[in-house]
Symmetry: C2
Subunit: 750 residues, 2 copies
C-alpha cells in the first residue's frame, strides 16, 4: 500500500504558532472580571483538623470567596468527594490532612497579593498524627492508618493485583540459576513547564465553563458533574494547547478548586499553581521491587517472582491502575512458564502519586532488565541474544491472555546493539572507564477506551477534524490531520485543515490523551470519520456521474471513475455543489471502542528499548552518557519526525530518572520541591550522540498499521544505563537515581 | 391531537435570567487586551473623496490601527466589497461618500477617548456633489447618479418588480367605482435598545472570531469570508442574547469594521455604535405608493393598480428583496381579477434602508386598507363585510401562483370587529370625537430558506437543543424547547433543556432569524431532529424489550409497549444504559428546506389585522387610542402568551409608525437622529385597553400546525388608525406619521 501522507515527516501544524509565541496556553487566558485563587495547604504530613476558621479571611477587603469544609455540609448543593476509583479525595480536607500540601481552604480575591494575605488570616488548629512515609513500613502491623473509615483501604493498601501463571516454586526448583534482588526508585515529579492552571466560571445559563490544560477534558467534566451534582453536559471543558503533561494533568488537579471558588464568588476564578504546589499535587510512584528470576543454564527463563510495593502517597488517585498495569507486565516481554507477580498500591503520608509516562513500567523494567544483564553475564551469553532467545513473539499468548502482535523486539534489539557496537567493547583503563548497556521494555495499551471523531467538509473544499485529543506537545494535531488526509485522499499540504481544539461542547467524546493511546484509538476514530465522509462524497459523485459509488476512486482530492480518470469531480467541486443547494452539515462520524471493537481489536503493545554507552569517572562516580539510542516499534510511523521526537523526549525523561531526579522527603516533609533544588536533565546531561531507531511491525488494527510509542524508551533507559555502568566499572546500582555518590559508594564497597 | 406542551403558555426559558440582569448581551462582552473602535463618517450626503490621510492618526499614542481605503489595494489580502445582492457596499468608502454617516475610516485605540481624538486627526478632503434625497426626484431624468459605474443601478433604480394578473385597464373599464390615491410613509428607524456592536479578533490559529448581536450569524460569516477571502468555516460567529433587532441587525452592520481593525491591529477590537450612528446605519424605507382600485357597485373588487416607489437610501442593502416582497402582496389579501403592480427600489443620498418588521408591507397595507374603507363608505357596505366578500380563501390561487392555506381572515375580521363593537358607533359631539377603524394585512413568508437543528440526549436524561435561531426577545428559545419536548414526549417542566446559543461552530446552519420564519422553518428542523433522536431511543428500547419499535409509544419521558404500559424504560434509563457502554453522542438531526420540502411544503402567509377606537381632539389634532386590538392567525399557537407578546409588541411599533415616528432629513442631513428628538411610543401612547386576538387555522406543514405571526399586526395598525380617524372626524390622512399638525391641517382644509 502506497501512502500519500502517512509515513511522511510533515512539519507539525502547531509548530509555527508555537515558535512564534502565538499559540495560547491556559496560562495565557484571562477573563474580564476574574478573581485570583490561592490555596491554603497543610504544613503537616498527617494531622486531624481541630478547627478551620475562615471568618477573618472572608471579611478581608478584596476577598470575594473563601472555601473550606464549611461549604460542604451533609446534603448541601455540593458533594466534596471525588477520585478515580474510590472517592477518597475531597475538594478541601474535611477531617484530616494526609500529606504536606493537602488542601485545607482556598481564597478568591481581586489580586494574588490580597489572596495570599487572606490565606494567612485563615485560622487552622491541627492535631498532629503519627506519620508513615515508607511503603513497606506503611503495610507493617501497627502502622498509622491514613483512612480509618475506609475498609477497602485497610492496612494502607488501596489496591493489590496478582498475576499467576504456571507454578513459580516448581519453576525455581527446575532452574539452574536463580537471581534475587531488590530495586528501588524514588518519588519524582513530571515537571511539565506549564504548571496546573484553570480558569472557571458559571455563565448566565448556570453552566460551568472551565478552561484548563488537562489531558482528560471529559474526565474533568465527569468529576465536576459529580461535585456540582449537575448534568455532565451542563459543564463545558475547553483545553488550549498544553505545555507538557506526562500524566500529571489527568483528572481533577485544580479545576474543582477554581470552579468551587467561582461558584461561591459568582465571578470567574483563575488558579495557577506555584511550582512548589505542582510538586505537592501529583508525583510518580516511588517503588520497592523484589524480583526473583530462575533460568536454565542455556539461558532459557523458567520462573519469575515479582513483588511490587508502590508508594501512592496520601490518596489512591491513579495508583491502583498504575500498579495493576505495572504488575501485569512486570515479568517483561519474555516467555516464562512460571510467573507470580504481586503488586501493592500503598498509602503513605506523601503527596499523591498518579499517572506518569510509563505508568509504573519503568520501576519494574529496571528490575527485569538488570536481571537479564546479570543472567547474561552469569551464563556467558550475549545479552542481546539472551533476550532474543526468551522473547514473546508474534502469536504467543501473554500471561494476561492477550495474543502478542506487532512486537518487533528482535529487530529492535539487534539494531540497538548494532548502533552502539555492543560487540566491540573498549572500556579504557584510566580513571574514566567506558561501558555499554542495553535494555528493552513492554507496556500494555488501554485500547479498550473510547474515542469519537468527526471530519467536516468545509465550503471551500478544505476539511476540519473534530477530535478531543489534547495537543500537549506530542504532535497529535498533525497526526490526526495526516490520518484524515490519507483516508480522504487529499494532500495535507495545500489542503487547509481548520483546527478545532478540544472542547467538550464541540469535539465528541475522547476517553483521555494518555497511555500513548491517541494515534491508535483516536486515530481509528478519525480514520473512520474520514471514511464515512468520503463515502458521502462518493455517493454524491456517483449520483452525479450516474455510476456506482463502488466504481469510484480518489486521488489528490479528486474523485473519479476507476478506469476513466477524466470523469470526476474534486472534493472542492462536490462541496460547492452541495452547498449551492443545501446548507446542512457535510460531516463524517467515526467511533472507536464499541462492542464490535472490543470483540475484534487486538490491543497493542508498546515495544521499546534503549542502548547506551557511558563513561564512568571512578574518582567522582559521575556518569557521562557518550551515546544513547532510543528505539521503538511504531507499527507504522505516521510521521517519523514526530515519532523520533517522542522517543527522544521520552528517553530524556528516562535520563533524568536514571541519573538525577528524586523528590526528597524527611518525615513527610518535602525538602527540594523547587526547580532550584530538584535536578532535571539539561542539555549538559543528554549525549551529543542521541539517535532514535524506529522499527515498523504494522498492527493489523492500527490506523494504517500505526500504534502508540511515546512511552517506549523511558522505561528502558535506567536499566540500560545501569547495565552500561556495570559493564564499565563492575558495580550494579539497583536504586535510582544513579548519583555519583551511589556509584562511588558502590565502587568503594566493591 | 392532544398536546402536552404545545399550546401552553409556559414561562419563557430566558425570562428569569433577563429579569435578574444575568442574561449577557454582546454589549456586556469584553476581551482581555481589547481595543476600542470608532468610525469616521461622512458629514456630507454626497461627495467625492479627494484625499484621505490617516498618517497623523496612526501615529497618535494609543492608536493601534487606522483603516481607510488605503488598506484595500487592488489584489490585496482583503476585498472591500460586500452587499446582499450586488456588492455595492465597501468596508470603507473608496471613491465617494453617498450619505451622511457613510464610513470613511475607522480607528482602534486603547480607549474611546483616544480613538475619538484620532478620528479628528484624519484629514479628509471632500468634493461635494449634488444631492438627491427624494425617491421620485431620484428617478427623474437628469438626477444626480449615486453609482455612475454600475449599469444595474442606472437611473438610481436598483430593483424593479412587476406583478401582472389579468388586464388592469379592462378591469377599470368594467368597474363602477374607481379610487386613486397616493400614500406616503417616512424614513423611520428600528430603535432596538441595544445598539449595533461587535467584538472581533483573530485567534492563534488565524481564525476570525466575532461576537455580535446579529440576526444572521451565518450571513455575517459568509460576508466576512468574502472580505477576508478565507473559508467560511475559518470564521466563527457567536451570538449572545440580542436586545431587539426588528430586521436592523441582519448581515454586516459593524462586524466587518471590528474585524478589519482587529486584523490590522492584531488585537481584539470592540465597536459599539453610538445612537446617532445606529440611525445612520440602517433605516426603514420611506415610500410613495400610488394605488388605483376599481370595484363593482356590490363591492366586488375588479382591478387594482399599484406603483411603489421605495426610498432605499445610498446602497441597495436588503431593499431589492423588500420591494420585491412588498410588490407581490401589494394588492392585499383580496381576490382581484385584474392586477398590475410595479415596485421600484430607488437609491437616494440617505442612509441605507433595509429589512424592518413587516418588510415593506406596512407601506402598501396603508394604501389598500384605506381604499377598502373608502370603498365601504362610498358603497354603503359594512367595512368588515366588504373585506370578507373579497377575501382570498383557502384553496384560492394568489396572483403569485401560491395556493392560499391557513388564512383565517374571516374569523379574524369578525372577531376584531366584535372586539370594538364596530357596529355600535358613538362619535360624541364635542371637541373630542370618537371613531372606530379596522384593517388587515397579508405578508408572504420565506419558507424556502433552510434551517438545521440537532437535539442531543444528555447523560442525565435531559436534552439539549442545538439551534442557531437568535433569541432577540421573541421567545424562540422557549418555543424550540416546547417543540422538541412535544415531539420527544417529555414534559418541558422538569426536563432541563441545557441551552446552546447560536454559534456557527456549534449550532448547525440557519438561514436567518427574520421574516417570522423561525417557528416554521427552524421549528420543523427541531421537530425533525427530535423525531430522529426519538427513533434512536425507540430502536434501542425495542432491542432491549425484544419487540418492534413500531409497537412503542412515549409519554411523559417514558417509552413503553403499546398495550402493555408497564413494559418500558424512561429516556433517563435508556440514556444511562447507552452511556454506561458507549460514550459516543446520542444526537438527532433535522434539516428543513431540502429539495423535497421545496416540492411539497406550502409556504405560509402572515395573516393579521387590527381594530382600533380613537378619540380625536378637534382643537389640537391629537389622536388618543382608546382601545387597540391586534390579531393574527397563529396556525397553532405553540405558546399563546409569547404569541400575544409578539402581536402586542408588533402593534406597539405600528402605533409609533402611525402616529409618531419620522427620521427627518433636510438636504440629506438628518436632523433628529437621537432618542431625544426622534419620538418613540411610550406607555402614554399605547392604549390601556390593548388585547390580542389569536385565531388558529392549522398549517399543514407547520410544526404542530404552527406558523409565524410576529409581523401580523404592525402593517394593519396605521390604516386602522387612519380609518378610525376618518370615522371620528371625516378626514383621510394618507401620509404617516399622523401627527396632530397633519390632522389639524386636514380638519382646517376640510
Amino acid at each position: 500500500m502506497e501512502f500519500q501522507t502517512i509515513g511522511k515527516s510533515i512539519w507539525r501544524i502547531d509548530g509555527e504558532k508555537k515558535v512564534r509565541g502565538q499559540a495560547l496556553y491556559t496560562i495565557d487566558l484571562k477573563k474580564d472580571g476574574m478573581l485570583h485563587g490561592r490555596i491554603l495547604r497543610s504544613p503537616h504530613p498527617h494531622a486531624r483538623l481541630r478547627r478551620v476558621d475562615t471568618s477573618a479571611a472572608a471579611k478581608f477587603p478584596g476577598v470575594h470567596a473563601v472555601i473550606s469544609r464549611d461549604d460542604f455540609p451533609e446534603g448541601g448543593p455540593l458533594s466534596p468527594y471525588f477520585g478515580r476509583r474510590t472517592k477518597d479525595k475531597t475538594v478541601v480536607a474535611l477531617d484530616k490532612v494526609r500529606h504536606v500540601g493537602d488542601v485545607v481552604a482556598a481564597v478568591a480575591a481581586v489580586d494574588l497579593e490580597t489572596a495570599d494575605t487572606a490565606l494567612r488570616l485563615i485560622e487552622v488548629e491541627y492535631e498532629e498524627l503519627p506519620v508513615v512515609s515508607d511503603p513497606v513500613a506503611a503495610i507493617a502491623p501497627g502502622a498509622p492508618q491514613l483512612f480509618e473509615h475506609l475498609a477497602e483501604f485497610k492496612n494502607n493498601i488501596c489496591h493489590h493485583t496478582s498475576l499467576k501463571h504456571g507454578d513459580v516454586e516448581k519453576g525455581f526448583e527446575e532452574s539452574d540459576v536463580v537471581l534475587e534482588d531488590t530495586f528501588r526508585t524514588p518519588v519524582t515529579q513530571h515537571c511539565h513547564l506549564e504548571p496546573h492552571m484553570a480558569l472557571a466560571w458559571f455563565d448566565e445559563h448556570g453552566r460551568l465553563i472551565v478552561h484548563t490544560g488537562t489531558q482528560t477534558p471529559f474526565g474533568v467534566r465527569k468529576s465536576l458533574a459529580e461535585i456540582f451534582q449537575m448534568a455532565e453536559e451542563k459543564i463545558r471543558v475547553i483545553v488550549p494547547y498544553v505545555g507538557g503533561a506526562y500524566g500529571g494533568k489527568s483528572h481533577l488537579k485544580v479545576e474543582h478548586l477554581a470552579a468551587t471558588l467561582a461558584w461561591k464568588a459568582k465571578r470567574p476564578v483563575r488558579i495557577q499553581l506555584r511550582r512548589e504546589e505542582v510538586f505537592l499535587t501529583v508525583t510518580k510512584h516511588a517503588s520497592v521491587v523484589r524480583m526473583k528470576t530462575g533460568a536454565k543454564r542455556d539461558g532459557t527463563l523458567v520462573a519469575r517472582l515479582v513483588e511490587l510495593y508502590y508508594d501512592t502517597g496520601a490518596f489512591a488517585e491513579n495508583g491502583p491502575n498504575v500498579v495493576h498495569k505495572a504488575t501485569l507486565t512486570s515479568p517483561g516481554p519474555y516467555r516464562i512458564p512460571h510467573i507470580q507477580a504481586d503488586g501493592y498500591c500503598i498509602l503513605t503520608n506523601k503527596p499523591s502519586a498518579g499517572a506518569f509516562r510509563g505508568y509504573g513500567v519503568p520501576q519494574v523494567a529496571l528490575a527485569y532488565e538488570t536481571h537479564m544483564d546479570m543472567l547474561a553475564e552469569r551464563l556467558g551469553i550475549d545479552s542481546v541474544e539472551l533476550r532474543i532467545k526468551n522473547l514473546l513473539r508474534e502469536g504467543d499468548r501473554h500471561p494476561t491472555g492477550i495474543t502478542m502482535h506487532s512486537v518487533g523486539y528482535e529487530e529492535l534489539l539487534r539494531k540497538l546493539g548494532g548502533e552502539i557496537h555492543l560487540e566491540a567493547r573498549r572500556k579504557g583503563r584510566g580513571k574514566k572507564r567506558r561501558g555499554k548497556g542495553i535494555a528493552c521494555m513492554i507496556k500494555a495499551s488501554n485500547t479498550e477506551t473510547q474515542s469519537e471523531a468527526k471530519v467536516q467538509a468545509n465550503r471551500d473544499g478544505t476539511f476540519t477534524v473534530f477530535s478531543a485529543t489534547v495537543e500537549m506537545g506530542q504532535g497529535a494535531e498533525t497526526v490526526m490531520a495526516q490520518i484524515a488526509a490519507e483516508e480522504l485522499g487529499v494532500p495535507l499540504k495545500g489542503v487547509a485543515f481548520i483546527p478545532q481544539r478540544p472542547d467538550t461542547d464541540l469535539t465528541p467524546f475522547d476517553a483521555m490523551t494518555t497511555a500513548s493511546r491517541s494515534t491508535f484509538c483516536m486515530g481509528n476514530a478519525v480514520r473512520r470519520a474520514a471514511k464515512n465522509l468520503k463515502e458521502k462524497f462518493f455517493e454524491f459523485a456517483a449520483d452525479l456521474m450516474e455510476i456506482s459509488s463502488q466504481d469510484l476512486r480518489v486521488e489528490n482530492g479528486r474523485v473519479f471513475a476507476a478506469g476513466a480518470a477524466a470523469r470526476g469531480f474534486t472534493y472542492k467541486e462536490l462541496a460547492a455543489r452541495h452547498f449551492s443547494h443545501n446548507q446542512n452539515e457535510l460531516i463524517g462520524s467515526g467511533f472507536y471502542g464499541d462492542e464490535e471493537d472490543a470483540k475484534t481489536v487486538l490491543p497493542f503493545w508498546l515495544v521499546g528499548g534503549c542502548a547506551v554507552e557511558v563513561e564512568v569517572d571512578t574518582e567522582t562516580g559521575a556518569v557521562k552518557l557518550l551515546k544513547l539510542v532510543g528505539g521503538a516499534d511504531a507499527g507504522k510511523a505516521i510521521n517519523p519526525r514526530l515519532c523520533e521526537g517522542q522517543v527522544r523526549g521520552d528517553a530524556t525523561i528516562g535520563i533524568g530518572q536514571a541519573l538525577l531526579e528524586e523528590l526528597k522527603f524527611i518525615d513527610g516533609q518535602p525538602v527540594n520541591a523547587s526547580f532550584l533544588h530538584y535536578p532535571l536533565p539539561s542539555f549538559q546531561d543528554v549525549p551529543d550522540d542521541f539517535p532514535v531507531l524506529l522499527v515498523e511491525q504494522p498492527h493489523k488494527d492500527g490506523p494504517f498499521g500505526a500504534k502508540g510509542l511515546a512511552e517506549s524508551a523511558l522505561p528502558a533507559v535506567p536499566a540500560a544505563i545501569a547495565n552500561a555502568i556495570y559493564d564499565a566499572v563492575g558495580v550494579r546500582i539497583q536504586e535510582l537515581p544513579i548519583t555519583p555518590e551511589r556509584v562511588l559508594r558502590a565502587l568503594t564497597e566493591k
